[in-house]
């Protein structure tokens, strides 16, 4: 009877989340899938079953360009975050001798996550602008004569801003992965006569791969769906997919096309998440 009671309580803890998922995730996803096959017909749109929206997305140069640009920016943000986060996490775990300093520095990188994301994007607009802090600073120390417009409203500004915003998501999983590596492995490598570089490439780096995969997944997916940074610092040629989706649901009033774009985004994210899941599982079993 205790078994039956356990089952009953199990059903209860499961029931609420299942209902929520069905109502607020599965149903809405089903609806955008449906909408993505509909047709725009002025002034709204009508039910249909055709692939026209998807054909448009993958043939109209306007959308293909935005898709490619979004992919490029997201990859650049992931790479930039990795290049900054990895040495930092490595230093914290293996080189930093004071446990207190380690905790403080780790907290210092995570803390900005608690500060408004919009404000962190906004502040880069004020720093990089023609009338901005960086330009006026460079002018005041005599490095430039005229304010330069090269900093803001381009892809460079977007990569800097998004890296700034999402870097904690790269530091956290890499730090966790590095922390799990037993010290005796690198010591064994040194005993076997491996130099520090070789032992890094053959021991440490492969063992931290699951952390890199998790961090890259997060930074890529978050940048891939961002529309605030492009709006603030991206400029006229800086639209990303999410901006186009927002336009389809706003001014352009083409919900079917916007839904199709959202499905493309969903598929890209799902693909990346399952790839990285597979990699992490491989890391877990193929490792030690």
């Amino acid at each position: 009877m205790s078994h039956a009671r356990r089952n009953l309580s199990g059903g209860m803890v499961l029931g609420i989340p299942l209902l929520w998922i069905a109502l607020f995730m599965l149903l809405p996803y089903g609806i955008i899938v449906t909408f993505s096959f509909w047709v725009k017909k002025y002034p709204t749109f009508v039910p249909a079953f055709q692939f026209g929206n998807y054909v448009t997305l993958f043939t109209d140069p306007q959308y293909v360009l935005v898709l490619l640009r979004t992919l490029k920016i997201s990859v650049l943000v992931s790479v930039a975050s990795l290049l900054l986060a990895y040495p930092f996490a490595y230093w914290l775990v293996f080189r930093c001798r004071s446990a207190k300093l380690r905790t403080w520095l780790y907290m210092a990188v995570i803390a900005p996550l608690w500060v408004s994301y919009l404000l962190r994007a906004y502040v880069w607009k004020t720093i990089l602008g023609t009338e901005g802090v960086l330009n006026s600073f460079l002018k005041s120390i005599g490095l430039i004569d005229e304010p330069s417009s090269i900093f803001l409203y381009n892809q460079f500004a977007m990569v800097v801003t998004l890296t700034y915003i999402f870097i904690p998501f790269m530091v956290m999983p890499i730090y966790t992965a590095l922390e799990k590596i037993p010290a005796n492995l690198t010591e064994a490598a040194a005993d076997l006569g491996m130099g520090p570089w070789r032992s890094f490439w053959t021991v440490t780096l492969p063992l931290s791969a699951p952390g890199i995969a998790a961090g890259a997944t997060l930074t890529f997916c978050l940048s891939f769906g961002d529309f605030i940074a492009p709006f603030l610092v991206g400029g006229p040629d800086g639209n990303l997919i999410a901006n186009v989706i927002a336009t389809q649901f706003g001014a352009a009033l083409n919900w079917p096309l916007g839904s199709a774009l959202a499905i493309v985004m969903l598929v890209v994210v799902l693909t990346i998440v399952s790839l990285s899941d597979r990699m992490e599982r491989k890391g877990a079993t193929g490792g030690i």
Partner: protein
Amino acid sequence: MAQSPNRAPGLVSRYGADTAFMTFVAALMAFLYIPIWVLIAFSFNDSRSLTWPLSGFTLDWYVKLASNGDLLAAIRNSFYVATGATILTLCVGVPAALALHKVSFPGKTVFRRLILLPITLPGIVTGISMLNMFKLIGFPLSLETVILGHATALLGVVVTQVYARLQRLPKSLEEAAFDLGASPWRSFVDITLPNIRTAIVGAGMLSFVLSFDEIPVTFFLTGRDNTLPMYIYSTLRRGVTPEINAVGTIIVLLSLVLIVASVVATRETKQK
């Protein structure tokens, strides 16, 4: 902790590597924190334009905030939304974490994936898919629809935090409770809940902050009312003003308070 071995090649190269690492860490800290100081510094600057050097000290921008009715309404709305979303997401997320932890059922992997999906899924997808649904069934958009959207988007955060804590609890505790004849409910209230309490508080605080700050979901699901980030977002369309820096500075201060509070909350468990 993993300490570097002392048989490193040469002292000189070791010293060089340490200096290089230190410089790098200092540069990273500068990259992370100079923008925040810029944000704060210009909220006290007595010029409308945000240019270097700072021209003089003023509190005018803060005084202006206090008399800005739209802004105050937006702040109130944000508190309402964040509170509602946090409560809802905890009510759904904690049972979900419990289910993942101890109930085995068919489709558990799919369930886990779905519930964690919003962590990596851009908010815009959650936003427009729920917008489509509300429009289809003719449900008017309001702050309440925003709450539902946030609660859905934040589920993954709550589930990961609470689940991680559950995994670290020794199974024997609950088994002992069952052996002593405690009902599932009783063992949950007396054994499990006290042990995961701080994780729930931590997840709740993080959810509150994330909801307070949320834009992509809010953007699509709000009716006529604005939340604070939406208000800031719409003023940014008209340009940059130090008033936004003043709001930002207040938010930074509040975040700091919350960070300290969450550190204190987790420290309490370590002592036990």
